[in-house]
């Protein structure tokens, strides 16, 4: 069985040689796959336009002997038209793709990660909530099993104080209560929103308008994500610049 079909999201692409592209796909069934799309950069290419980062596609791939598969057919499942004409949506999409690319393991099926990514891309296309990147990162960390502990103090195990905020100590893996001390201040509102994201209140959290609380949660989530990946997320820098 060397030809196979799968549903995939394009995570990123690289130029290869004259007119080819290497695409990194997150497939529903096959996990993260790298493949060569021959001639994808030519204007007359049959699938070049469908293999842009963030596209949700149905692909047919050929598995050769090497590490790279070959793309033979691509069809759009969703083309996310609005996202392609809005800079903020593009930046948010890029920040999700970059994190997923770092987290996903080659050829390791991760259907939940796939569904989560497709869901988030749809939300961006529909409403582009300010907290999408932050909420997605927290969910992603939870999926990886490394979500920051927000309910109890990681120092003493007592329930973290909700009244006047807590201290965020990500290097310790969560929050510190006032009496343990050590860490960055995190407001009670931001703590509540972060807990909601992790605990089933995602929809409400995404409806929050841009403000100091969303900024705080975004910063918490990206710091935790970057600490987990042990590298900077480049898209975020561009997000801030634009």
């Amino acid at each position: 069985m060397s030809l196979y079909r799968d549903e995939a999201v394009v995570l990123r692409t690289w130029k290869l040689g004259e007119a080819d592209r290497i695409v990194v796909l997150l497939c529903r069934g096959a996990g993260k796959v790298r493949a060569v799309a021959k001639g994808a950069r030519k204007t007359g290419s049959r699938f070049g336009a469908r293999l842009e980062p963030g596209a949700h596609v149905q692909v047919q791939l050929y598995k050769g002997r090497g590490e790279l598969d070959t793309v033979t057919q691509v069809e759009h499942v969703e083309s996310f038209k609005v996202t392609r004409t809005d800079l903020s949506r593009m930046s948010h999409t890029a920040s999700l793709l970059e994190a997923v690319d770092q987290v996903a393991q080659d050829r390791e099926p991760q259907p939940r990660l796939f569904s989560m990514l497709v869901g988030a891309l749809r939300v961006i296309e529909e409403s582009d909530p300010p907290l999408i990147t932050g909420a997605f990162y927290l969910k992603l960390l939870a999926l990886e099993g490394v979500a920051p502990e927000l309910d109890v103090c990681v120092g003493c195990g007592e329930p973290a104080d909700t009244g006047e905020g807590v201290l965020l100590a990500l290097e310790a893996g969560g929050v510190h209560c006032r009496s343990c001390g050590g860490g960055r201040r995190l407001s009670a509102e931001a703590l509540a929103v972060s807990r909601a994201v992790l605990g089933g209140g995602l929809t409400a959290a995404l409806e929050l308008p841009q403000g100091p609380v969303t900024a705080e949660v975004h910063s918490l989530a990206t710091t935790a994500m970057e600490a987990h990946l042990e590298r900077r997320i480049r898209s975020l820098r561009v997000l801030d610049e634009t």
Partner: protein, 202 residues
């Protein structure tokens, strides 16, 4: 294990660093160069040093140029009011080949690329804004690639170039001449439909 003499190995290593040249190709080119007569090899060496020494970036549009200002910027025949913004010097050549454009250019030397961490600050956008402010420009045509990076750049430019009296346009995208509708993707075909025009009576 037999190895090459040091100068040969150096040559192979240098060639191997060129884009698209793998170790085997580097070896093949190196042996070809060793076989050809001295004149041919010196010609190549001279061409490289000459190009490196004489070519720089135009101080106006940042295209590759032999002098301070490139031939297009210094041409008085060119329309001074229209500016075509492209990503790379080779895009200037591509647009020039159409013979449809008589204005001048601005080369950004890249495109906004989130995944590579390339933001607006790393491109020649400040210079573009300065030109738009200082010169008599009435139209800016954004001619970046129709891919994600080019689109992001175009969206960003349209935002920062929102100046009264300046029209900012984006090149159309649609079906390639000689192509088949059947193989066109929805995005391209959709845009082609959006940008359709009245057929003029012949």
């Amino acid at each position: 294990m037999a190895t090459y003499a040091a100068p040969v190995q150096d040559l192979i290593d240098a060639l191997g660093r060129l884009p698209g040249v793998g170790p085997k190709s580097a070896q093949r080119i190196a042996f070809y160069l060793l076989k050809v007569d001295d004149e041919e090899a010196t010609k190549l060496a001279r061409a490289i040093t000459e190009a490196k020494a004489r070519i720089g970036f135009c101080t106006v549009c940042f295209n590759l140029s032999e002098g301070e200002v490139c031939t297009i910027c210094s041409d008085p025949e060119r329309d001074q009011s229209v500016l075509c913004v492209v990503e790379e010097p080779r895009d200037v050549v591509a647009v020039e080949r159409t013979r449809e454009f008589k204005g001048r250019y601005h080369v950004l030397q890249g495109a906004i690329d989130h995944l590579q961490g390339v933001g607006p600050d790393q491109l020649r956008i400040k210079e573009l804004l300065a030109r738009v402010g200082a010169e008599q420009i009435t139209e800016v045509i954004i001619c970046t690639n129709p891919n994600l990076e080019g689109e992001a750049t175009s969206l960003y430019l349209s935002r920062v170039l929102a100046v009264p009296g300046l029209s900012v346009t984006r090149i159309a995208s649609g079906l390639p001449v000689g192509g088949d509708l059947e193989y066109a993707d929805e995005l391209t075909l959709g845009r082609a439909l959006e940008g359709r025009r009245v057929v003029e009576n012949g």
